[in-house]
């Protein structure tokens, strides 16, 4: 946690359907100096924001109110924007071509968030 300065000022999108978890993520990200570009809790909303916003990174819940968020993952991949899956499922819940994407397992601590963001960034 000593080098969280690398995340200062980066633009982040949070896609998470659980409001409280979304708020906690926001709080964690603000602590390390990230710029919150927006949040989305539904798939259609997430797709629009993933396409339109200028982003440096995205945190992506796998399950959005019962819908898989993989279409969003594809947009982010196409736009070359690094992202993290935030999920209660293990890596086996992911399609084969997305198993390389870093996973932040729920529940998580600040240190785990930073670690997975670092893996996504490099």
């Amino acid at each position: 946690m000593n080098d969280t300065h690398i995340f200062v000022g980066i633009r982040v999108l949070i896609i998470e359907d659980e409001a409280l978890v979304s708020m906690m993520l926001e709080e964690f990200l603000e602590q390390i100096g990230c710029r919150m570009m927006g949040t989305a809790s539904r798939l259609d909303e997430a797709i629009i924001k993933a396409r339109s916003l200028s982003l440096d990174m995205a945190l992506l819940d796998v399950n959005l109110a019962g819908e898989a968020s993989f279409p969003v993952a594809e947009i982010l991949t196409a736009r070359d924007i690094p992202f993290i899956f935030v999920t209660g499922y293990g890596p086996l819940g992911l399609p084969a071509d997305m198993r390389h994407v870093p996973i932040l397992p729920k529940p998580f601590q600040m240190a785990q968030l930073v670690e997975s963001m670092r893996m996504a960034a490099y």
Binding site: E18, V21, M24, E27, G88, G90, K106, P107
Partner: protein, 680 residues
């Protein structure tokens, strides 16, 4: 009927044959000598013609009786045997007769009394001959009884004796006349004449003996054959019955088959004695026998010792000359062992069929080429075709989905090639229907020599089970996801609630939630069926592991914990670790923690886990027990159904002990003792 090769040994001895030959040669030699001497004496005869006629008459008188006896012998042999060759001596004798009497009548200067006597002899001989002729004719026309009665009624012996006496008288008369007429030249011709007479007598004797021997030889040969045949027939388990069912012939074969000796069987009713039972009533069999002359079939009888025997029997009716049924011939073979084997086979087949038709799954057999040799109703139902369209065909031919059929046949091929039984899942789809999943067990099928000739298989449908399993898996996954999300939400709530508060409190709470989540992770991986104690322990220590792995020493046997026990243990270890970090061994750089567990054997085996701190600062019991200690001592003990204690042991360090009945915390009793789990 069994053909027996007959070998006919010479019925006459060599000596007898030699004698006949010698007599014949002697007769020939004497004839030659006599003829020579007679020729040299010719001049001294008054009338050689008279002499010759006289001699011929004498010879004829000698022959009458033997010729008649020959005819009689021929007739008797014919009546006895029915063999027409015996009529030859009879007919020859008849022909000879006319010549004999002509010769008698040609004797010189016959007296009226001699003429009368010759006529008498002729009448008697003719009468006897016509009797013979009559019996032969009766016999030939089939009236055997008539022939027999006639033969019995006539007084053959007396007739023959009378003829014999008359002939002897005639011979004496001829001799006297000869002596009177040729007395003067007696000495001159006696030698040649005598030798000639002796030679002729010898020749006649030899011829008679020869003929009799030939007949005797024929009879002997026939009797011999008959005897051999009777023996052979007896060997074949053949019997003879009179028409009223009484046994009239019982051979060694029958004795062996039924156990009764000839003495016990002869005269008994065959069907009663053997307790004969047939497929149809015996009356019917007898009716067939009379109608067709024979009957063949299987019968059940009882051996003398009471055991049941099965036979295959052929009965034939032997008819008399007049076509009337005379005797029933029966030839039987024992088929008891075949019958019993047949019955056993039938039972085995019935059992197999019952199993095939009642078993709920598919049962089938295929040959080396994968062609169906056997299939039960369930199998035919699945294929959806009748047996006639399935027999001898392969899966490729009758299954809709060719790719699946190829898979099935590849499985079959492997079973047969490796000659090994295997169990696996197979999927069969039918057009318009959901694929069905089968658990198949297939085993190589071997012949009597052990060679693989195909396979037998049993398949049980597990489609529904698979569907339930899949759904259950989906639900477990979903539940795990929910639990994690809920934990994350709880964490978020706590985080928001404690915002601006004591960061230590916030971190403690966060870590407790993480410990709970870590234990859940272990269980999720194992599908909530249980977790290795080693995984639970290392999972609980993981959040504190950064840079401090060397401070933990973990050891104990491999055990699978029940989910409840795994969660309780994970939380307990988390509290002990937290406590050690704050106040105990882990609060200093040199402190160590040893975690060890073992099974304490006894009537009720226990799992005992100890947490031993060392190298830490001096510890002192807190005035008030914190949440962690209370969690361990109360909640943990409760969840594990055992007891737990935390001792603040001065000055060494904290010692925590958890004990629980093994049966309440472990999935199964399998324990791998003394397995050292690597130190962390």
């Amino acid at each position: 009927m069994v053909a027996v090769p007959f070998t006919l040994p010479s019925p006459t001895s060599r000596a007898a044959r030699l004698l006949v030959t010698l007599v014949t040669w002697l007769a020939l030699a004497l004839l030659a000598l006599g003829g020579l001497l007679a020729a040299s004496d010719l001049g001294s005869f008054d009338s050689n013609t008279t002499l010759s006629d006289h001699t011929t008459a004498q010879l004829a008188a000698e022959r009458v009786l033997p010729h008649l006896k020959d005819a009689e012998a021929g007739q008797r042999h014919y009546l006895l045997t029915g063999d027409t060759s015996y009529l030859k001596p009879y007919e020859a004798a008849r022909r000879q007769f006319d010549q004999d009497f002509a010769n008698l009548r040609a004797a010189p200067s016959p007296s009226p009394s001699r003429i009368a006597q010759i006529a008498r002899i002729r009448r008697l001989a003719d009468a006897r001959l016509s009797e013979l002729t009559r019996t032969i004719e009766l016999y030939q026309s089939g009236e055997r009884d008539g022939a027999r009665q006639l033969e019995l009624a006539n007084r053959a012996k007396r007739t023959m004796d009378t003829i014999g006496a008359e002939v002897a008288d005639l011979q004496a008369d001829l001799r006297n006349q000869f002596v009177q007429a040729h007395g003067s030249i007696h000495s001159a011709y006696t030698l040649g004449e005598a030798i000639l007479l002796v030679a002729l007598a010898a020749a006649s004797f030899a011829a008679t003996v020869w003929a009799k021997r030939r007949i005797q030889r024929d009879i002997d040969a026939k009797l011999y054959r008959l005897e051999r045949f009777t023996q052979a027939f007896g060997q074949t388990q053949g019997t003879l019955r009179s028409l009223d069912g009484r046994i009239v012939f019982w051979g060694i074969g029958a004795e062996r088959l039924y156990g009764y000796s000839e003495k016990e069987a002869l005269g008994k009713n065959a069907l009663d004695l053997l307790q004969t039972r047939g497929p149809v009533s015996l009356e019917e069999i007898n009716a067939i026998l009379v109608r067709d002359g024979e009957w063949q079939g299987e019968l059940t009888r009882r051996h003398k010792d009471g055991r049941e025997i099965h036979i295959i029997s052929k009965w034939s009716l032997n008819r008399g000359e007049a076509g009337e049924p005379e005797v029933a011939i029966e030839v039987s073979s024992d088929i008891t062992s075949i019958k019993l084997a047949e019955r056993e086979l039938h039972q085995t087949n019935a059992l197999l069929r019952a199993i095939l038709e009642t078993a709920p799954g598919l049962i089938y057999a295929k040959d080396l080429q994968g062609r169906i040799m056997l299939a039960n109703v369930s199998t035919l139902d699945l294929i959806g075709r009748p047996w006639s369209e399935v027999e001898g065909r392969t899966d490729l031919e009758f299954l809709d989905n060719k790719a699946q059929a190829q898979l099935v046949m590849a499985n079959d091929r492997r079973i047969m090639d490796q000659a090994k039984t295997e169990e696996f899942e197979e999927i069969i789809s039918h057009e318009g229907r959901h694929p069905r999943v089968w658990s198949s067990t297939k085993a190589p099928l071997r012949d009597a020599d052990g060679k693989v000739i195909g396979l037998v298989g049993v398949s049980v449908e597990i489609t529904e089970r698979k569907r339930i399993e899949d759904r259950l898996q989906l639900m477990v996954n979903e539940l795990n996801h929910r639990v994690k999300n809920t934990l994350a939400t709880v964490q978020a709530i706590a985080s928001q609630t404690l915002r601006g508060g004591d960061p230590i409190v916030r971190q403690t709470l966060e870590r407790r939630l993480m410990a709970l989540a870590a234990a859940h992770d272990v269980l999720t991986r194992e599908n909530w069926e249980g977790a290795d104690i080693d995984d639970v322990v290392t999972g609980a220590l993981a959040p504190f592991g950064d840079g401090g792995d060397y401070r933990f020493t973990v050891s104990g046997p491999s055990l699978r914990l029940l989910p409840r026990a795994a969660l309780a243990l994970a939380m307990g270890l988390h509290e002990l670790t937290t406590n050690a970090l704050k106040y105990g061994a882990l609060s200093t750089l040199a402190g160590q923690v040893a975690i060890n567990w073992q099974v304490v054997e006894g009537a009720k085996p226990l799992l005992r886990l100890t947490w031993t701190e060392s190298g830490g600062p001096p510890v002192m019991a807190p005035s008030k027990r914190g949440f962690g200690v209370r969690l361990i001592e109360r909640s943990l003990a409760q969840d594990l159904g055992g007891k737990a204690s935390v001792i603040f042991d001065q000055p060494a360090g904290i010692v925590g002990t958890i004990e629980a009945p093994l049966a309440d915390v472990v999935v199964s009793a399998e324990v791998t003792p003394l397995l050292q789990v690597g130190a962390r």
